[in-house]
Each structure stands twice: as C-alpha cells, then as structure tokens.
Symmetry: C2
Subunit: 196 residues, 2 copies
C-alpha cells in the first residue's frame, strides 16, 4: 500500500459548493457509503442512515426547507459575522442543494447514545472516500434541521445531521487556510505547545 | 494511487481497548494530527486542539477523572443496559487511559459554531490515519467531560470531546458487526430502501 494516502486525501480535499452538471457513477456514492458503514458508533448502535437523493422534486423540497432556515439565521446575524459570510460569498441561498447531481441526507436516530458524534464520524469517512473517487462535497449543516426533516417526512426520532451535495468540483474557491500544526498540538498540558 | 484504500482502512479498522506496551513512533501520531489539521470545520473556525499525552502523571489524572464520571454513569444504568455493557466486558474501569503508550485528548473551543461536529470530523480523520500506520485506538467519550477538563486544567471555554488511547493492538475482541448496507441507505425517501 502506498504511503501517507489518508493525509494526502485530507490535504487535497476542500469544500466545494459548485459542481459540474456531469452525473457521477452511482457506484462511487455507494463506495462512500460502504466506507461510512464501517465507522465506529456509540455502543455500536449504528444510529446513522443515509438518504441518497437524485429526484429533482425531493432536491427542490430540501433546498426550500433549508433556505427557509438559513434566511432566518442570516437575518439574525450580528454585523461582523454578516460581513464575514459576505466576504466568503456565503448567503442563505443554497442553489447547490438543487443543482448538485446527488444529495446525501445524513440522518440519525436521536434516541441512541452519542448519535450526533457517531453520525459525524461516518460523515468524515464519506468525505475521504469521495475525495478518493475525485468527487467533491460540502458538509452543509442546516440552521434549522427540523424544517429539513419535515420536508423529508422523517419520523420524529430521526434528526438531520448534514446534507451533502455531491458532484465533480467546479468551485473556483481555494481551500481555506489551516492553522499551523504547532498551534493545535499541545504537550501534556493545554498551555504547553508541542515542539516536534 | 491504489484503489479503494479508504474503504479498506475503514473496514479493517476496529476499536481497541488493549495495547501492546511497545511505544509507537511519535512521527506516526504527528502524521495523524497533520491529517486532522486538514479537516473541514464550521465556518473554518478550526475549534479543535489535540493534547498529546505521554506523561504518566497526566495519564493517571485523566484516568482517575474519567473513572469518577464512568462510575456514576454505570451506577445509574437500567438493568438491561448494564447487562449489555457487562456482556461486552465494558465497565467503569478505564485502565487503558493509563496503560496506553500515548493519549490524545481532543478538546474544542465551545464558543465556535458547530465545534462539536467539527471536532468529530477531525477525530474520524485521525482514526483512518492511525489505521494506515497500523495503530489502534478507541474513541473514549467521557460520561462527564467536565471532570476530565478539570484534571487537564483546561480553560472554561474548552470542552473535552474524546480521549484516544493509542498503541499497537493487543485486544482479542473482533470488530463489532455492522448493519447491512441496504438497511442504512434509503432512496429519496426515508421509507424507501435503496436497492442497488
């Protein structure tokens, strides 16, 4: 096995909010979900399900419900946060939820222990698996997950964790810079930086 | 690049609670944290820090604080959950927090948006990176993270997300079985299973 592939994939990966119209092979999505299936979960309760969405009407409903929540969220932002989002060219508009070839709605059974953490571990496995297949996504977290759950007709116990719009990258934005390693690793104590 | 490596790593990976005494190369831990550094985060706020712990006194303090929280948790369990944990040979005792060659305490700035989800994505990146280096761990989530935060002397705003005891696997337990794919993938609708 080639060396350092996980780091290479993680490093190359960036969030994409704009996709080519070309439809990816469904087997690559299945591959990512087969990877997610292997993720550990709280007490191995496997609370996470993945709704694979390619139907235009369902995508439109997900977009509408998401934008309703985002509009409220953006309206409520304080000025400097609003400016930050504007600089990043982010807004309550979520056209990619309708335009991406596929969506995966990640939902989790909220009655299970550590369901939220467990779901996010499986999402991260998906991110690296998609990157390996040259597919892009962004972990869109609805400001009001209940609206999206309602649009998807989920049972009450199921919580929407994230919606992943998936396709081939057409987003001109570069990867956002990351903090240097020495800022994020501490040594035995939160106040002692780790010097390699 | 070889095919399907992410899925292979995810499939081979299992949680380990028992480790060989042999100390792994620190560069392999750094590799995993370099991978974690690349993880996406809410609004790219990068809320997560990683405390690399090799000091015996610090490990002992983390174990003590963790066990204090676990004891309360296990005492409060209803009978059938208690039996489940006993069958899995799990208890409030956490010797691996002291015996593992290394711990990584994953902590996150709780003032940042989506800090919890963001931290878990970076943890999942660590899991696959460690697997690639033939290292094992378990995502131990303290029942009372505040006790562990106190033992580590964290600033109030920092929340303990998980403690990863890391080493070479010596745990005889097999990987817990996973649900079949058809149970976890739905098609456009939560009630419609996806048939490939």
């Amino acid at each position: 096995m080639q060396n350092d592939i996980v780091k290479t994939l993680a490093t190359h990966r960036k969030s994409s909010r704009l996709f080519r119209t070309e439809t990816p092979p469904i087997k690559d999505i299945i591959y990512a979900l087969e990877t997610a299936r292997q993720a550990p979960s709280g007490s191995n309760m496997q609370p996470t399900s993945f709704i694979f969405i390619d139907n235009s009407n369902v995508k439109a409903k997900v977009r509408l419900a998401s934008e309703k929540g985002e509009k409220r969220f953006y309206d409520g932002l304080v000025e400097d946060r609003k400016r930050w989002y504007m600089e990043k060219e982010l807004s309550w508009h979520k056209p990619n939820l309708e335009e991406a070839p596929f969506l995966i709605a990640v939902v989790a059974d909220s009655s299970k222990p550590n369901f939220f953490a467990s779901a996010w571990v499986s999402v991260a496995f998906i991110l690296l698996a998609l990157e390996e297949k040259n597919l892009s996504t962004v972990t869109y977290t609805p400001s009001n997950p209940s609206l999206v759950a309602e649009a998807l007709g989920l049972p009450k116990i199921q919580q929407v964790i994230t919606i992943l719009p998936i396709g081939y990258d057409a987003d001109p934005k570069l990867k956002e810079p990351r903090k240097p390693l020495k800022e994020i690793i501490k040594y035995n104590d939160f106040d002692t930086p780790f010097i390699e």
